[in-house]
Point group: C2
Chain length 718, copies 2
């Protein structure tokens, strides 16, 4: 008894010591936008993700969303400040699923995972190191949580189990109990922010899609690309000169293949890497003439760069003292948080690129790898830490360059290899070097949760089958790109599938009114154009855990395996895309509640079930929701020019009535932000005899609408 | 000009701001042991690795090492304190190689790598997450650096490139210069310690081996196992009861297979996992009798445990309030830094295990995985952070349990899955679930740099070839173990190689005097028993980088590949071990300077060269240095008992004279620490005619020497 007493006393003293160093805090939630609450833990930092993005919320868009109350039990949110770090806890319900937490490539449902969110190339594991480690999660219960801190935040998404938990896991004995689970039930998300402060946002639903909408609208609404951005793009081999590129463009014409913009790789610069951002006069003696020649052919130019500045460049002397302590590939790293750095860039880039007609950029290598990026011991003149700089560099370059094009009232659409929270309204699509076709599709699924766009770019393939399958997917993504910088491939590189590849590229071109409208939804309503099934109404798939088999080496803890719907997605409101992968003759497709129809034939495919399909090589499986309306235009090689009126073919699927608000504007400027756009309703209604009839509403006078009004209605389901 | 001036002024202000927050410090180096200097950066922390290990330096051993001066240019060591973190920099020479930095499995030379040292299971990449992430590196220039901080330390081992570097890399243009390198030359090691303080040790050489010796001797000298520890051990299936185990022991006898200790898996406990540390009365009704029966058969008992305490256990009420905020597998995590916790354990473990004859422990799952370990947001009553606890838990359990056996004056030898700096003198061998045979050997190589022992344990195999190859390696490692907890395998599981397996196990038993002496060197001189070739005199392999081939997906940066000697090692002073791997018919072996001879035949194999060998399936390739002396004893099944005198056969290889100081003591107590041991010189000298003659020096009177003096000399090289 005496010993126990002593133990108790010593332990009490210890507990006291601990509570002295721990600063328990209560979060003060304030509704900062419609259905979005904010609280501050500790001392807010000067550099955060949202402060870097610097975007005004779209309050108009937000105001159309349902009115709700704070979506979590406030008393169950916990915050502590210890050891110069913020400790956070949010409650979880038993059946709750979690989505988001960065651009993941292999998993959709993140409950039960641990992420240390860190801007990096994707290294093959969903562990938080990725191109867009957005510290934002969406619950299937219809709320979201965002941590606005430019730090390596660790999220325990339902893994840690507290001794004092109100919902502890059941106790099993591994020796004798089959039910013993290597990962016991956890009733909380716990988050470690390694900083003295963090700003926390909670987003209301009521649906997970509403959460995503609020997130995107708070960040200005999703980006609406120029129409040319939705065409096809080819990136040429590194050292192509202007004549090579003009020849490439002619080849596309000869092969009758669509081409809207072309990516010019490092060879355009007098040195790269490190970069000068100056034209190489041997390969590109007359850049302005060259760019204009492309513009005349209906093709926009996209310039590759990474932000590591060469000592041989004209910008170096000005930037040297405004850059970090460390170099990357011998290039200095300008402190992008300094206004004077941004001014130096702006002056140079306007004069040498934007003002001579450059249409956009590919911002490479702002993600990692650690082996050549600045280390976490680097310092920057502004006092921004290396860690913070890592988390914001790609975001900051997006913000800066997006501003330039906005200032020129010219929409751009480019590529970036690192992003983060706050990027919804930026004109950039993420890509990487990783090349698993399947994982590329899962990334596309996951991009929809976190306000980023992703392209499953095509580079090379082992055979014609892989080639056509990859080409099919990329044509059903935010950017239809062949990136041939290293391989020199062309869309027709595999002649045996050239026809199928051209057909899917043409289909993308035909779908322009549908796709462009889906992006308009992204902008005005925050609804992502490419969507995880988990965000779709009627989603009723119950993820099941498959019991793991004990194996002393492969699975010593008999970990169970969780199932996800991660190889199919929605494009816009009506189209379900189920890509095929090389080696596959058939695949399973999950169809949500409500009837679904084959896009090509209009035949009923199923409803609220998993079907097995065996399509041929020449088509990507597409399904349309009952009542779905898909507007198409004729096959074309480039985005329509100003004033060009396209013929509309409107397809209807299934037996239900349907409606589609077709969006249009000038396709290239920001005038739509001043009201210069139109939504024109296309509807299919049953007449008194129950026969489906199509109708296009009156065109709004004085607003852009680049279609002639001779709509051809096609009822696909007989 | 005006704009530039403004830019300059703003930039100066920024730089000024930055220097205000940065606390530049000068490190004060103090020689704390012979050839070992210490300095403190910032505010030292209460919990560090060495403070946890709590080991007294072996000053006697240290004093025999060469006298030297501080081995680095002091002025080139840099320290800064920023953002509550310590930033360190140490200079590197052009040709310098770096070793250590944790138990790595795939690489030996660590220059050019980045590690975030974090106690964890090994996940397949040498990135710092490993079972013994010791923050210690050894330079080929003959010095070492240790950071004593129980934190997730990031080490940039020659990767970061500073803008103001005195030795900058050459500038190349990737566009046009073939010499462009994805990872430019770096002239420094940079280290980020995420804490307000760190204690830094610098170890002098002059050789890399001297550095390792100083490190081990500062940590008390390497562990000397009991003789039985160097025999064979079998771990039985999880739920084996005492009768099953006694039958297993009989089976070993029937198969004439050596067996010195047996590992009892979770089934010995009344519940596990989580653990009670109490005997299960159904499976082990009479533990004391059972253990004594084993002892009578010459077999020691090793009990499995992990430290997560079951609510069903007798210790739970006492430990509940002394444990962390989070549970692991429903077990509480006692705050091991609290003296009262250690006392509670000691009382229970002495009474229930040590005092009834238990010979040692296997301490499992103190490494990770993150998915079930306490999260970094856990808190502990002592105020030790979750991060610190992660870094020290395995170390602390080693220290605690080692102390118990020392108190009983009984040597133990067990297994642990997590370790760290300061562990040299602990009686534990590291193991894991990973199972690449090749990588297991690289881990064995790397264990020699960082004061830990590692076993390439055998569990199961796909076929007889793999089985015998793995068995051969494990018999040339610190612990010859078959771990059959999940698979129930036996040494004779593959009858077609049973003979070869028995032969290599017997050879291990025969080599006892040689191996035991090698461990004595570890203890008295700090020289590891199993050694990387890079620590060996005569090592002259020049690591070359092979130019990488550009591949848009597999190698987009055309990264070069560095070569290491990582599949062979030295056991003691004379034996070079070059294991074969399944699927291999022949292999390359690097032989250092000086002639080397085949162990089995005595035939010259080569010198200072890479040879190709094609051995059969029945033997592990072994080579002996010119003048090498290898003492053997007859084949035996158990370690010799007290007073047993073994017959010595002493082999000599090559044509040079040689010498070997044969160590002996009682083989099981710590009396050797009070001087109760002997070193007896065995030498081969040329007589006047140049003929080699063997001689054993006089036995030290009154000191333990368990060999008869009828030495049989065998001159292996004709």
């Amino acid at each position: 008894v005496k010993k126990n007493l002593i133990v108790f006393l010593i332990s009490s003293i210890s507990l006291l010591n601990w509570s002295q160093v721990s600063a328990q805090q209560k979060l003060q939630w304030q509704e900062v936008h419609h259905g979005i609450w904010k609280a501050t833990a500790g001392q807010p930092e000067k550099v955060t993700l949202l402060k870097t993005a610097e975007i005004k919320a779209n309050e108009t868009g937000l105001s159309t969303l349902p009115k709700t109350t704070f979506p979590l039990p406030e008393g169950k949110i916990d915050v502590k400040i210890l050891d110069h770090k913020i400790y956070l806890r949010f409650p979880l319900d038993k059946e709750e699923q979690l989505f988001g937490l960065g651009l993941n490539f292999q998993t959709v449902n993140q409950r039960g995972r641990i992420m240390t969110l860190h801007v990096d190339h994707y290294g093959g594991k969903d562990n938080g190191r990725t191109h867009a480690p957005v510290p934002f999660y969406i619950s299937s219960n219809g709320y979201g949580v965002l941590i606005d801190a430019a730090r390596y935040i660790t999220v325990y998404a339902g893994t840690g189990v507290r001794k004092d938990s109100e919902n502890p896991p059941v106790l099993y004995d591994r020796n004798t109990d089959k039910k013993w689970d290597a990962q016991p039930y956890s009733d909380a998300v716990e988050i470690l922010v390694p900083a003295e402060g963090a700003e926390i946002y909670v987003f209301a639903g009521p649906t997970p899609m509403n959460v995503v909408q609020r997130y995107n609208l708070m960040n200005g609404g999703g980006y609406l690309p120029p129409k040319w951005g939705l065409g096809f793009t080819q990136r040429v081999p590194t050292l192509y000169n202007q004549d090579d590129i003009l020849k490439e463009v002619a080849d596309f014409e000869n092969h009758d293949f669509p081409l809207d913009f072309i990516g010019v790789e490092p060879g355009w610069q007098s040195m790269a890497y490190p970069c000068t951002f100056e034209w190489d006069k041997t390969r590109f003696p007359k850049p302005e003439e060259f760019i204009n020649e492309l513009v005349d052919k209906g093709i926009s130019t996209n310039l590759w760069l990474n932000p590591y500045v060469s000592p041989k460049g004209i910008l170096y002397p000005e930037l040297e003292n405004l850059s970090g302590s460390h170099t990357v590939w011998n290039g200095i790293v300008p402190d992008i948080t300094l206004p004077q750095v941004r001014q130096i860039y702006k002056d140079h880039f306007f004069k040498n690129h934007l003002d001579i007609g450059v249409g956009g950029y590919k911002i490479d290598e702002v993600d990692g790898f650690d082996n050549w990026l600045w280390p976490d011991v680097a310092t920057f003149p502004s006092g921004t830490s290396a860690e913070q700089m890592r988390q914001i560099y790609g975001l900051s370059l997006q913000s800066m360059t997006a501003g330039w094009f906005k200032e020129k009232n010219q929409r751009t659409y480019g590529l970036v290899r690192a992003s983060n929270a706050g990027a919804s309204s930026f004109p950039y699509v993420i890509y990487n070097d990783y090349y698993s076709h399947r994982d590329f599709i899962t990334a596309l699924v996951n991009s929809s949760f976190i306000g980023v766009l992703w392209t499953p770019e095509v580079r090379a393939s082992n055979d014609a089958e892989e080639w056509v399958r990859r080409m099919q997917s990329v044509c059903f993504s935010p950017m239809a790109m062949l990136n041939a910088w290293a391989d020199g491939t062309k869309p027709w590189s595999f002649p045996e599938v050239e026809k199928a590849v051209r057909e899917v590229a043409n289909l993308r071109m035909q779908l322009l009114p549908y796709t462009y409208t889906s992006f308009a939804q992204y902008h005005f309503q925050g609804i992502p154009p490419f969507r995880s099934m988990n965000l779709v109404e009627g989603f009723a798939f119950k993820p099941t855990s498959v019991e793991g088999k004990l194996d002393g080496t492969a699975n010593p803890y008999a970990m169970s395996i969780k199932q996800d719907i991660k190889d199919q997605y929605m494009m816009g409101d009506y189209l379900l895309v189920a890509p095929m992968f090389a080696g596959q003759e058939s695949r399973k497709v999950y169809l949500p509640a409500g009837k679904w129809y084959d896009f090509y034939t209009g035949v009923l495919a199923g409803e609220n079930q998993i079907i097995e399909i065996t399509p041929g090589l020449d088509k990507i499986p597409l399904f349309v929701k009952d009542g779905g309306i898909i507007p198409l235009v004729p096959v074309h090689r480039h985005a329509p020019e100003a004033g060009q009126q396209l013929q509309l073919e409107v397809r209807h699927y299934g037996t239900a009535e349907g409606s589609f608000d077709l969006y249009d504007d000038d396709g290239k400027t920001f005038n739509f932000e001043k009201g210069e756009y139109s939504f024109t309703n296309l509807s299919v209604r049953k007449d008194k005899k129950g026969i489906l009839k199509g109708n296009m509403a009156k065109i709004t006078p004085g607003k852009p609408f680049n279609y002639n009004n001779q709509v051809v209605w096609k009822f696909m389901t007989k």
